[in-house]
C-alpha cells in the first residue's frame, strides 16, 4: 500500500489518491456493505419468524425432549431435557469419531506401507483397493453398509468371525474388555504406573537438558509404566484369584447375546464406512510421506546394518511423520465432520438429534447455530492441538 507511486506534480496528495485514506474508506465501505446485507437477512428473518410465532429462544433447551434415543454413552431418558439430548448427541459424535480416527489410522498406515511393498501382489491389490474406495462417495458407501447390515441373519444364526465377533440383524456383537469386581484393587497400580512414567520422563528430560545432550525418554517411560501396571495386574489377579480386567466373549443365550459389547447396525455401518473411506486417504498420506523421505536415508540405514523393519520404524517413519501431520489433521477433521452423515444411517449423533429437536420445537435458528458452533469448536480445538504438536515435532528436527 505505502509503496504506491505518489503523483509527481503535486506536493500534497489529494485524499482520493492517498492509499492510506483509501484503505480506510474501502474498509468502512466493506463493513457497511457486509453488515448491511447481514442486517437485511436478520430483519427479514425476524419478521418472518415473528409472523410464524417462532421467535428464536433457547428456552427449549430446558424442556423435556420426549423422544427416545437408540443408544447413548451415558444414561438417557425421554423425560430429560433437549439440552441433555443434544449433549448425548455430542458424546455419540465424539464416540464414533474417536473410534474412527484410531481404526482409520491403523488401517491407513497398513495400506500406505502395502502400497510401497516389494511384494507385487500386495502392492497392486492395495492400489486397486485404494482407487476403488476413494472414487465412490462416502454416503453411497454408508448406504451400502447399512443395507448390508440389514441382510445379516437373525441372532440365532449369527455370522461368527473366530467366535469373537458376531454379525446379526440387530448389529454386531464382539468381544470386549470387561472390568472384574477387583478392578478397584488395580486402580492404585494404574495411578502408580502413570506417575512413575511421568516422573521418569521428566527426570530424564532434566538430565538431558543439564548435559545439553539429545536423548529419547518416551519409550522407556512407557515401558516403565507398562511394567508397573502389568505387575499390578498379575499381583491383584494372583492374590484374589480373579483378573481385574478380562476379555468378555459374547455367548449366544436363548434370545440374545450375553457378554461382549453390542454395536447397533447404524453405528457399525457408520464406523465401517468412515474407517474404510478415511483410511484410504490416510494410506495415501502415509505413502507420500514415506516417499518424500530422502532415498539416501533408507540406503544409509540399510548400510548401517538396520533391518528393513528397523529402517522403517526408526529412520523413515519419524521423518515421514513430520510431513504427514498437517494432512493427517485435516483427514481427522474430515472424519469427524463426515460423522454427521450418521443421520442417513440412523445413528443418533449430534446432527441427527439436532434434526429431531429442530422438527419438534421449530427452533431452526438456535439449533443450527448450536450444531455449527459444536462442530466448529471440535475443528478449532483439534487444529490448535495438531498445530501445537506439529510445531513440537518440527522443532526436534533442528
Amino acid at each position: 500500500m505505502a509503496t504506491a507511486a505518489p503523483p509527481v506534480q503535486k506536493t500534497t496528495i489529494p485524499f482520493w489518491r492517498d492509499t492510506r485514506i483509501l484503505a480506510i474508506l474501502f474498509q468502512v465501505l466493506f463493513v457497511v456493505l457486509v453488515v448491511g446485507v447481514l442486517w437485511f437477512f436478520y430483519t427479514t428473518m425476524m419478521a418472518g419468524l415473528r409472523q410464524a410465532n417462532l421467535l428464536p429462544s433457547f428456552a427449549f433447551l430446558s424442556q423435556p425432549a420426549s423422544f427416545s434415543i437408540g443408544e447413548s454413552v451415558i444414561a438417557y431418558d425421554p423425560s430429560n431435557t433437549y439440552g441433555y439430548a443434544l449433549l448425548i448427541g455430542v458424546l455419540n459424535t465424539i464416540r464414533v469419531a474417536i473410534a474412527g480416527v484410531i481404526l482409520a489410522t491403523i488401517i491407513g498406515i497398513i495400506l500406505g506401507i502395502s502400497r510401497l511393498s516389494e511384494n507385487w501382489l500386495l502392492r497392486n491389490v492395495a492400489t486397486v483397493y485404494v482407487e476403488i474406495v476413494r472414487n465412490v462417495p462416502l454416503l453411497l458407501q454408508l448406504f451400502m453398509w447399512l443395507a448390508l447390515t440389514q441382510t445379516f441373519p437373525r441372532q440365532q444364526d449369527s455370522i461368527s468371525i473366530f467366535g469373537l465377533i458376531y454379525l446379526h440383524n440387530r448389529g454386531v456383537t464382539m468381544a470386549w474388555p470387561e472390568t472384574g469386581s477387583d478392578f478397584g484393587a488395580w486402580v492404585p497400580w494404574l495411578w502408580l504406573g502413570l506417575l512413575a512414567g511421568i516422573a521418569f520422563y521428566v527426570v530424564r528430560r532434566i538430565q538431558f537438558a543439564r548435559r545439553d545432550r539429545p536423548g529419547v525418554a518416551m519409550p522407556q517411560a512407557f515401558l516403565l509404566a507398562g511394567a508397573i501396571v502389568t505387575i499390578g495386574y498379575l499381583f491383584v489377579g494372583l492374590t484374589n484369584g480373579e483378573w481385574p480386567l478380562s476379555l468378555s466373549i459374547p455367548e449366544l443365550q436363548r434370545f440374545n447375546f450375553v457378554g461382549g459389547i453390542g454395536l447397533t447396525p447404524g453405528f457399525a455401518a457408520l464406523l465401517a464406512g468412515l474407517v474404510i473411506y478415511t483410511s484410504v486417504f490416510i494410506g495415501e498420506i502415509v505413502r507420500s510421506g514415506i516417499q518424500a523421505v530422502n532415498k539416501g536415508q533408507r540406503e544409509a540405514a540399510r548400510a548401517l546394518g538396520l533391518t528393513p523393519g528397523q529402517t522403517l520404524r526408526l529412520v523413515i517413519f519419524p521423518q515421514a511423520l513430520r510431513i504427514m501431520i498437517p494432512p493427517m489433521t485435516s483427514q481427522y477433521l474430515n472424519l469427524t465432520k463426515n460423522s454427521s452423515l450418521a443421520v442417513a444411517v440412523g445413528y443418533p449423533d449430534l446432527f441427527s438429534i439436532a434434526g429431531t429437536t429442530l422438527n419438534q420445537t421449530g427452533q431452526t435458528v438456535p439449533v443450527i447455530m448450536m450444531v455449527m458452533a459444536a462442530y466448529l469448536t471440535v475443528s478449532l480445538v483439534t487444529s490448535l492441538f495438531m498445530n501445537w504438536y506439529n510445531k513440537r515435532i518440527q522443532l526436534v528436527e533442528r
Binding site: 511384494n119 501382489l121 462417495p137 451400502m144 431452526t364
Partner: protein
C-alpha cells in the same frame, strides 16, 4: 517423479527375467512375502469369482436397467428430453474441438467421451423400451453425438491454433448456455425440481466450482490483503465454513435461506442446494487459491510494482494468473471431492444420482426380489461415480505432470 528418473539412470541393464525368476523376485522373495502372496491370492480369487458369480446370476440388474432415464436425468419430462441431449451434444462438440486442438489429455478425454456414447448406445439397445417413449430414439442421439465428437475432433485438428481462443470462449459460455437450454426459455420451462439423476449431480458439482470461483478468489485475495478488517471477515468466513460439515450448510440453506429472503422470493430446493454448495465450495477454493498465491515468488510482485503497476493490476495481471495456473490440479481435486460430496443432497430429499438409486430400491416392482435390488442399483451408481472421479483424478495427475514439465 524424481525416483523414477534416478532409477532409470542408476539401474544396471537387466537381462530378460524368466517367469520363475519374476515370481521369486516379486512374490516369494522372503518367507513372509510368500505368506502374504498366498493369502492374498486366495482372497483375490475368492473375491473375483464371488463377484462374477453374483454379477452373472443375479436378476436384479433389471431394476437399474428399466430406470435408465431416471438415473441419467431424473424426472425430467420425456417430451423435453431433447434439452439434456442438446446440452450433451454441446459439451461433446466443445470437447471434440479441444481434443483436436490441444491433443494430450483433451484428446484422451474426447476418445473416452465418444467411446462412452457408443457403450451407452450398446447398453441402450439391450434395455426394455422406455415408457413413455422419448421423441427421438436415444440410441440415434447417442450415436449422433459420438459422430459429432469425431467431426469436431477432425475440425479441431484442421483448424489448429486459430480455434484456440474461440474454444476457450465457448467453454466459458457453455455453463450459462447449458443452464438456459435445460431450464428452457420463452414458452416451456422445466422447473429445477424435476432435474435429477446424473445430470443434477454434474450440475451441482459444476455450479459449485463455477459459481464459487469469483467468491473464492475474492476471499483468497481478502485473506492475503493487508486491510485488517477485510482480512478479518475473510478469515472468519473461511474458517467458519471449513469447520462445519457440508450437511449443516445444506440444512441451513434449506431451512434458513427462505427465512432470510422476503416472502415474495421463492426459491426451490435445487437452487437452495446450489447456493449451499457454492458457499461451501468457495471457502475451500479460497484456501486452494491462497496456496497458489503463496507459491508465487515475492520478486514477481516487486518487479511488477517497480514497473509501475498498481495493486489491482499487479494482482490481475501478475500474481493471480500464475497462482491459478499453479493450482489447476488442486482445483480438479476439489472438483472431484465436490462431485462426490454432492451426493449429500440425497439426504435433504433431492433426486441426484444417489437419491435416484434410493428411489429405485424402494420401487414396489422390486419387492419380490430376495434381499432387494440395492446391490445392483448401488453398484451401477457407484460405477458411474467411479468412472467420473477416476477419469478426473487421472487427468489432474496428467495436468500436474505437464505443468511440472513446463516449469523445468
Amino acid at each position: 517423479m524424481a525416483t523414477e528418473v534416478s532409477q532409470s539412470q542408476t539401474r544396471a541393464p537387466q537381462p530378460g527375467i524368466d517367469v520363475p525368476g519374476w515370481l521369486r523376485k516379486n512374490l516369494f522373495s522372503t518367507w513372509y512375502n510368500s505368506l502374504i502372496s498366498i493369502v492374498l491370492l486366495v482372497i483375490v480369487f475368492q473375491v473375483v469369482t464371488g463377484f462374477f458369480q453374483w454379477a452373472f446370476t443375479t436378476e436384479g440388474w433389471i431394476a437399474a436397467a428399466s430406470n435408465g432415464r431416471l438415473i441419467l436425468v431424473g424426472r425430467y419430462p420425456a417430451a423435453e428430453l431433447w434439452r439434456p441431449q442438446l446440452a450433451l451434444a454441446l459439451v461433446g462438440l466443445l470437447l471434440g474441438l479441444s481434443g483436436g486442438v490441444w491433443r494430450g489429455i483433451a484428446q484422451a478425454l474426447t476418445i473416452g467421451f465418444a467411446g462412452m456414447m457408443l457403450v451407452l448406445t450398446a447398453l441402450w439397445t439391450q434395455l426394455p423400451p422406455a415408457n413413455p417413449p422419448a421423441p427421438l430414439t436415444t440410441e440415434l442421439v447417442l450415436v449422433g453425438i459420438a459422430v459429432l465428437v469425431g467431426g469436431a475432433y477432425a475440425a479441431g485438428r484442421a483448424g489448429g491454433e486459430r480455434l484456440r481462443w474461440p474454444i476457450i470462449a465457448g467453454w466459458f459460455l457453455a455453463y450459462p448456455t447449458i443452464i438456459l437450454i435445460l431450464q428452457g426459455f420463452g414458452g416451456t420451462t422445466v422447473p429445477t425440481n424435476l432435474w435429477g439423476g446424473l445430470m443434477l449431480t454434474m450440475l451441482l458439482a459444476v455450479s459449485g466450482i463455477v459459481l464459487s470461483f469469483p467468491l473464492g478468489v475474492l476471499l483468497a485475495l481478502g485473506r492475503r490483503s493487508n486491510l485488517p478488517v477485510v482480512k478479518f471477515f475473510c478469515v472468519v468466513y473461511i474458517e467458519l465454513i471449513r469447520g462445519v460439515p457440508l450437511i449443516t450448510v445444506l440444512f441451513m440453506a434449506q431451512l434458513m435461506l427462505p427465512l432470510f429472503l422476503p416472502s415474495e422470493v421463492r426459491i426451490d430446493a435445487v437452487v437452495r442446494a446450489v447456493v449451499a454448495v457454492t458457499l461451501f465450495s468457495a471457502a475451500y477454493l479460497a484456501e486452494n487459491v491462497r496456496g497458489g498465491l503463496q507459491s508465487i515468488p515475492k520478486g514477481q510482485v516487486e518487479a511488477a510494482r517497480a514497473l509501475g503497476l498498481n495493486v489491482v493490476k499487479t494482482t490481475l495481471l501478475i500474481t493471480l494468473p500464475q497462482a491459478l495456473k499453479a493450482v489447476i490440479p488442486v482445483l480438479v481435486g476439489q472438483f472431484i471431492s465436490l462431485f462426490k460430496d454432492t451426493s449429500l443432497v440425497a439426504i435433504i430429499g433431492l433426486l441426484d444420482l444417489l437419491g435416484v438409486a434410493r428411489a429405485i430400491n424402494t420401487q414396489p416392482e422390486w419387492l419380490g426380489f430376495p434381499g432387494g435390488v440395492w446391490r445392483e442399483t448401488f453398484f451401477v451408481v457407484a460405477v458411474i461415480y467411479w468412472i467420473f472421479s477416476f477419469t478426473m483424478s487421472r487427468s489432474s495427475r496428467q495436468i500436474e505432470a505437464n505443468l511440472n514439465r513446463g516449469a523445468r
